[in-house]
């Protein structure tokens, strides 16, 4: 017996007080509906409806069992919804300069855990709003590096040089134009420092502007990068310096040196939208490839011991969130 179909016939008839209207509501033939109710009455050992009057009425047994029948149907409905939302694609908001190979590893890890992930490249503020409006299931959110789970060194990319050298920390004061020595050729104009959209977030911009001023650089040396491809072209042509991560610079064969001031590096947390029981934890199998994708150094080392526990908890967390 398909208990759910039989309970549906019972509940619909009780609601409508009519076999024909109940059959219409369920979209089945009335004889089928009647047969299901008879079968159910046999199963429960007594009549659910009084058919002796013009209007169908529910018997005492029928009234008593009705809330239980509704409860079973509700739960079955929620079960179907949970199954459906678990099959849906979950969007992950990521910065524009991620390493594609690492993002692909995140997608494969999702598949292994029964979750279909989709990567969405978004500027930092939109990743944050995507979490709050529910359009993103996970996002890499910019935070100050001191409090971040993932730290990514920022540095300056420049045109490739003849001999590759080990990157030495670069300090903003060094970008000040030099005073000319006697007989020295006229200095070339100082190169602008281009800032990508990924770094136009209040938590970074304020600090950077202050550091630039204190290092004695005019504000005009810093400019928004515009499209990343244009900024890279200018940089590789030796006409600009691009503020970016090491892996981004090396992907395009630019020379790169980290900023000496680590307070100016990037910080990321991998976040999920806040649920009814606070902000849920993001599974380790997802944070790890995302850390690699942004080029984090010494990423989330403290979480390594929780790896097994986190992996075991994944289905429970997803069900609670569905």
């Amino acid at each position: 017996m398909d208990l759910l179909a039989h309970l549906e016939a019972y509940v619909a008839t009780a609601d409508e007080a009519s076999f024909s209207r109940a059959a219409d509501r369920l979209g089945i033939a009335q004889p089928l509906l009647s047969r299901r109710i008879k079968t159910l009455e046999g199963h429960f050992g007594g009549p659910l409806f009084d058919r002796s009057r013009r209007q169908v009425t529910t018997t005492e047994l029928g009234v008593l069992l009705l809330p239980y029948a509704r409860d079973v149907l509700d739960r079955a409905q929620r079960l179907r919804q949970a199954a459906q939302s678990a099959r849906r694609v979950r969007a992950v908001g990521v910065p524009g300069d991620c390493a594609p190979a690492a993002l692909a590893r995140a997608l494969r890890a999702g598949t292994e855990h029964g979750i279909t992930l989709g990567m969405r490249e978004l500027p930092p503020m939109e990743r944050e709003s995507g979490l709050s409006d529910g359009s993103l299931a996970y996002a890499l959110v910019r935070v100050v590096p001191e409090r971040a789970a993932l730290r990514v060194p920022l540095g300056l990319a420049s045109a490739p040089a003849g001999t590759p050298q080990a990157p030495r920390a670069l300090h903003l004061e060094e970008l000040r134009p030099r005073r000319r020595r006697t007989g020295a050729p006229p200095a070339s104009p100082p190169l602008p420092v281009l800032v990508l959209a990924e770094d136009r977030v209040p938590c970074f911009e304020e600090r950077f502007a202050r550091a630039v001023a204190r290092a004695g650089l005019p504000e005009g040396r810093i400019a928004p990068a515009g499209p990343a491809a244009d900024a890279l072209t200018e940089t590789l042509a030796g006409r600009a310096l691009l503020l970016c991560t090491e892996q981004y610079a090396h992907r395009y064969d630019a020379r790169w040196a980290p900023l000496g001031d680590t307070a100016l590096h990037r910080g990321y947390d991998v976040s999920a939208p806040p649920g009814p029981r606070g902000t849920p934890e993001v599974p380790r199998w997802l944070t790890r490839p995302l850390a690699q994708a942004v080029g984090a150094v010494g990423a989330a080392r403290h979480g390594d011991t929780g790896d097994l526990r986190a992996a075991g908890d994944v289905p429970a967390r997803l069900a609670a969130r569905g």
Binding site: H171, L172, E173, E174, R176, R179, R181, T182, R214, D261
Partner: protein
């Protein structure tokens, strides 16, 4: 001589550098100075990593006003030991005080200043009268002996500040340009008509010894911490910025230094400290081959060397 040193014939200074890149910087600075007709020595040392670059680092040179740094350290050590009161008033009378163009030495009327403020005048504006007022309290021989006891072997103290003026006047009368001409001519001939230009008879020291002194002051490895901290503070108050500091001026950098100028000598020693934590001590001791009271191009070359060295040595 360490393996990292490269020698040279004919008066070209010996360069030192802890790796190839640092050696390149040292040689570039030496070539830059030589092109301006400047002889001398330069040494920069990262106080935390110990890496260094420079040239001619062991050559002894008359210190001029750089000698006020060891004097200040000995006075501060006596104050810290309770043997001298920083608040003790000292009256300086222009009729008897030392010659100079700044501070008490430029005053026309007697002034009473506490010992602690004499130190400030001596280090902030290189006040000769303030320095010699301190030499009245702590004798030259005592300063020299204390340096010896501290193991500062490359630095010798032999006279008060006014002795430089007296020697110049003795050789050239009150004619500055004649004194300068004597100095430059002697430089070419390897003589020292003016006694205080002779490293063997003047207050003198080498770049290596001076940087060593700065290192011990900045790392609290000499005198007592109370004295070294106050010396660091006072050296940070120097108002002259046209030499080593000229291209190291930013809110995120701090320069603490002491210049020294006498006839054709232009010196400075000091420490640059960055907000990032990098600390580099340096000494630049120069002798110009020209008769000019002002030589901004030489001072600019000193500043360029300081910046190049700092950027090469910092982490």
């Amino acid at each position: 001589m360490s393996p990292a040193e490269t020698g040279a014939a004919h008066g070209r200074p010996v360069c030192v550098g802890d790796d190839g890149a640092l050696m390149d910087v040292a040689e570039a600075v030496a070539a830059d100075w030589a092109a301006l007709g400047v002889r001398g020595s330069f040494l920069a040392l990262n106080l935390d990593t110990g890496t260094r670059l420079g040239f001619g680092v062991d050559e002894s040179m008359p210190l001029a006003s750089v000698a006020k740094v060891p004097l200040a350290l000995v006075v501060l050590d006596r104050i810290a030991a309770g043997e001298l009161d920083a608040a003790r008033p000292v009256t300086v009378d222009p009729a008897r005080s030392s010659v100079g163009s700044t501070g008490l030495s430029a005053f026309r009327h007697p002034a009473t200043v506490a010992v602690g403020d004499l130190l400030l005048l001596m280090l902030s504006v290189s006040d000769n009268a303030a320095a010699d007022a301190l030499f009245d309290l702590v004798q030259v021989a005592e300063v020299d002996a204390r340096l010896r006891a501290w193991g500062c072997d490359g630095i010798r103290m032999r006279h008060r500040m006014n002795h430089m003026y007296e020697c110049a006047v003795g050789a050239a009368g009150n004619d500055f340009s004649l004194a300068l001409e004597l100095a430059v001519r002697d430089e070419r001939a390897g003589l020292a008509t003016i006694e205080t230009l002779d490293p063997a008879r003047a207050n003198s020291g080498s770049a290596a010894a001076l940087v060593g002194l700065l290192r011990r002051v900045w790392c609290d490895e000499i005198a007592v911490p109370g004295a070294t901290a106050e010396l660091r503070r006072l050296m940070g108050s120097q108002v002259f910025t046209q030499r080593l500091a000229c291209d190291l001026r930013a809110d995120s950098l701090r320069w603490s230094g002491k210049t020294g100028t006498f006839l054709h000598l232009r010196h400075e020693i000091g420490v640059v400290e960055a907000e990032s934590g990098d600390r580099v001590a340096m000494a630049a001791l120069t002798r110009a081959g020209r008769r000019a009271a002002l030589a901004p191009d030489i001072e600019l070359a000193m500043g360029a060397a300081a910046r190049d060295a700092f950027e090469a040595l910092r982490g």
